[in-house]
Symmetry: C2
Subunit: 318 residues, 2 copies
């Protein structure tokens, strides 16, 4: 599948960091950065840019939850090649300090992605405007649309549609609940109510559908595609970047550096932290549930594989 407009967005560090409180070594982050450079990936999200507080400290939550300019620059300067992806950071509505964001011309970052629930779309739009005024590309990633009341979602889409400062609008399968037919149906809804916006997609792999749903998005005309090296990400993880690059067949991409960084960095990491499909996440995706309960179950080493118990319990709660 080759389409020139297609852009691949790596969010390995940002989504992977949700598993380990962003306790990645500098060496690891540099290796992922270099791999995305060499692979020709279009964007790389290097973390969140949240607000530090007494409860939410750098020690406990890791430097890539805060993305200081100096930390990012060290990563950027560690690589010597020419081609660079546009760097992005993520804003969580309500947890940020806008004054800490330098103007884009004084930053190595080129895009700010704003994650918000439907209820916070107004706040998301406000932030997008301010980021755009600062010179950044912007996205709004509406979280958990599969659990939103449709009229509220539509209202939000129509608002975003009128805001020229929002470059991309994301369909996000937060709970890993979508089948391909629902991807198509939600994209129709997004297109109908936000026809001015270029669309992006962020998958989760609860039902082994992250990669195939990303393909469905491509078929349905989405041009900005999230993926992570080895599918790392909270819970069941994301669309595997290496599978996606294999699929795309665009000569500007080279998958080999991605497999190299998997072999050298991800294989050891997989012994320390867990991500990816398993039965428990499969059930939470099928039930369109927040992965919270599933993650709690997986953290309980004694019962973590008791999928039948989890199903029965989840059904009785429903």
């Amino acid at each position: 599948m080759y389409r020139e407009e297609l852009k691949v967005f790596d969010c390995t560090i940002r989504d992977g960091g949700l598993i380990n409180n962003y306790q990645f070594s500098d060496e690891f982050v540099k290796a992922i950065y270099a791999a995305t450079c060499e692979a020709g990936v279009d964007y790389m999200e290097i973390g969140k840019k949240l607000c530090e507080s007494d409860d939410y400290t750098r020690e406990k939550y890791g430097k890539w939850n805060f993305c200081d300019e100096d930390d990012i620059k060290r990563v950027v300067d560690s690589y010597e090649g020419d081609y660079r992806p546009i760097l992005a950071v993520m804003y969580d509505v309500g947890r940020i300090d806008f004054s800490a964001l330098p103007p884009a011309d004084q930053s190595v970052v080129g895009m700010v992605r704003i994650a918000c629930y439907v209820a916070d779309i107004d706040k998301g739009i406000e932030l997008a405007k301010r980021c755009k005024d600062h010179g950044y590309e912007t996205t709004i990633n509406i979280m958990a649309p599969s659990a939103a009341i449709e009229t509220d979602l539509i209202e939000g889409l129509e608002q975003i549609n009128e805001i020229p400062e929002v470059d991309y609008l994301y369909l996000v399968d937060s709970f890993g609940a979508f089948y391909s037919e629902q991807i198509t149906s939600y994209l129709k809804l997004y297109r109908k109510h936000a026809p001015n916006k270029e669309l992006g997609f962020h998958a989760h792999n609860n039902q082994q559908l992250a990669f195939s749903n990303t393909q469905q998005c491509i078929i349905d005309g989405v041009n900005l595609l999230d993926a992570t090296v080895n599918g790392i990400g909270r819970g069941a993880g994301n669309c595997n970047l290496e599978l996606l690059l294999n699929f795309l067949k665009n000569p500007k991409f080279d998958v080999r550096p991605i497999y190299k960084v998997i072999q050298e960095q991800m294989v050891p990491l997989r012994k320390e932290i867990e991500w990816g499909f398993n039965d428990i996440y499969g059930i939470s995706g099928y039930l369109n549930q927040h992965p919270r309960e599933a993650m709690r179950m997986r953290a309980d080493k004694k019962n973590q594989d008791n999928c039948h118990d989890f199903l029965i319990e989840s059904l009785s709660v429903e």
Copy 2:
């Protein structure tokens, strides 16, 4: 997705047995049988029915490679409920002894599936006729069509189309190489050249697409769908039965017994034998290769995760 004609075919024991030379305990096989009964699955394949020889012994290759009537009966008699799936066994062309197959009215088996490569379709047809004369439902499962020369494949399809003794014709993604668009395109080819045949589909999960490709087949009108409990099967395994039943939403199915047998039988088994997606199988699927080399790599404990090495080596062989 609800369509009355859809039938689900469990091949847990037959495809899972390829990993461990069919060394399943009787307790395990009885538990899978009971689970498929309680779940309301339409068919269950309990093994292969191959020919024993000095080189290919029951001790080494396991009783479910030979499927003696008495062995199957013991499993069937161990379950007391009313509903039973139709039992199937698999024939590999060239490795069977037809005289060992009793007439269907003297057997608990109701279907014989015949697996053959394109080059052996004539032999497959011959066997299907004999099985049908004996009273069995029959299928022909053409292996590795993704690696066949299209004119040969078309000739085979046209031959099968003329044989009323073949009940189902299977599209088989032997190498786990198909994307959804190729599923659609192969199904068009099968329909064009074998319009008289009802179609089945058997996936492999090399690129995390077994489940989604099975969904694509449903969308494209295929009515007989293979799956295995927990996706067990050679290499990257198959479409997960539990995910498929969740998706189908047909009230005749109950997924709970499947999750129960996963929790009780599959979780311990996963500590003994390996199946499912990993980087190495992902590469072999992408390259449309027989999984032979990938399985060899995975068996080499020291190098089994060296996916970059595997990619480079595979590309240099290509």
